[in-house]
């Protein structure tokens, strides 16, 4: 217990990085996921096909492998291209890239489904009243895509929050790595793994509650009276 108190500041440091990584992943992943979804829906066959190939690839291999490929593979490629050690792939960049690519791949499917569920007639009505294509997207489509995609995105967030733990393998000083370090130096693995588990649990429960509220708010229009 004293160990835990002593190492708590360290764990909190790690927690901050974990949260930063998870939130950045979700934001970047949503933007990239939206772009991928639009690419899949595009009229240009080559664009749609490339987007499908990319997402199937990302969803088809273990996330751990994506991370290793970017961290070690990326370093190797950069070393060959620019000379050894000129530019390094940091654990942060590798972790963020890997998690974002995977998040975006899954999110693009969720968003594509939501996009297709918004009736075309509503977009036509917007255009018929003089909305520009961008206005119709922003004012009519996007809020409805958001509402329909929200439950799926909530699941993806939970997953990627937990997957941040993977990035400790390549040396990111996140919660998992800090817990590991503490476990090793104090020889009390149970205490620290348990502490890390509890922190993750609190985070996922908290985010579930937040997403439930967001979903409630976004689906006001479904209420029947």
């Amino acid at each position: 217990m004293e160990d835990l108190v002593a190492y708590l500041p360290l764990l909190i440091q790690g927690l901050r990085l974990t949260l930063l990584l998870a939130v950045s992943t979700m934001l970047l992943g949503l933007v990239l996921g939206m772009l991928l979804a639009l690419a899949k829906l595009s009229r240009h066959g080559w664009l749609a096909r490339s987007a499908f190939v990319f997402t199937n690839f990302m969803r088809g291999i273990p996330e751990f492998l994506v991370l290793l490929m970017i961290y070690f593979g990326g370093t190797q490629v950069l070393d060959t291209a620019l000379g050894p050690g000129v530019v390094n792939v940091s654990p942060w960049i590798a972790g963020l890239t890997a998690l974002t690519l995977v998040f975006a791949a899954y999110a693009s499917e969720t968003i594509r489904g939501a996009y297709q569920s918004v009736p075309k007639g509503q977009i036509e009505a917007a255009r018929a009243y003089g909305f520009s294509a961008w206005q119709a997207f922003r004012i009519v489509q996007l809020p409805q895509i958001w509402r329909l995609a929200l439950p799926g995105i909530g699941n993806l967030w939970q997953g990627s929050l937990k997957d941040t733990a993977l990035v400790s393998i390549v040396g990111l000083d996140d919660l998992m790595r800090k817990a590991n370090q503490a476990a090793q130096t104090t020889r009390a693995p149970f205490t620290f793994y348990m502490a890390a588990a509890l922190i993750f649990l609190v985070l996922t429960l908290l985010s579930m509650a937040i997403f439930t509220r967001l979903e409630k708010r976004a689906s006001k229009s479904d209420r029947r009276t």
């Binding site: 509503q122 036509e124 009505a125 018929a128 009243y129 003089g130 909305f131 409805q144 209420r223 029947r224």
Partner: protein, 265 residues
Amino acid sequence: MAGDGPSAPREIPVALDVRSIRKSFGSHEVLKGISLAAREHDVVAILGSSGSGKSTFLRCINLLETPDGGEVRLKGELIRMRQRGGMLVPADMKQVDRIRSRLSMVFQQFNLWQHMTILENVTAAQIHVLGRDRKSAVEKAEAMLAKVGVADKRGHYPGQLSGGQQQRVAIARALAMDPEVMLFDEPTSALDPELVNEVLKVMRDLAAEGRTMLIVTHEMGFAREAASHMLFLHQGLVEDEGPPREIMANPNSERFRQFLSGSLK
């Protein structure tokens, strides 16, 4: 109608002038050159059997479909088109958006925005397209909702309303734009029979107010009472046209006569 007929008073200006609209889908030529000139306060009923191109014609007017040929003028302003790769495309999308905001369309399936309240449905285009401030948009919306008899639903969502109420909201949304011409595409065809009349009543009132309207409809009784002019489309052409009572009593075309006997039985 087209040109200056003897019965059309010369002093009433033409609001919407549509000339020789052509449109094909693939090898299927749906419109083979359709013209129509609606003067202010005209109510034009457009009839024709299913698949005759009524919707396509209406959608070519506000460019929801891009016509292959022809011209559309609203109050004298020509919608400018240009050639690109052998196809006609709008020369200036800003102009198209501006013209669209002066032509309101009412759809068969209502097409209300499901995530917005009734009030928001009626204010959105006023705010985002016409640039009205929220307060005056809300005032306008409330007045229009009251006019079509659904003011009490302002805080509801479209999914909570009956079809007839939704279509009346859609009409309020159209009216709120102060449109110069209103386009109706079978506004009552998706409604349960007992809800048709509440919508037709609103439309009769609009006709009596002197609104300029183009109405695609299968409601023959309504068309005869409310329309000042009638157009019958067949195989991509105007097969018959004239004042409703006259051409319904004495169709010039055999096709139209058959259509009438079919729809009146």
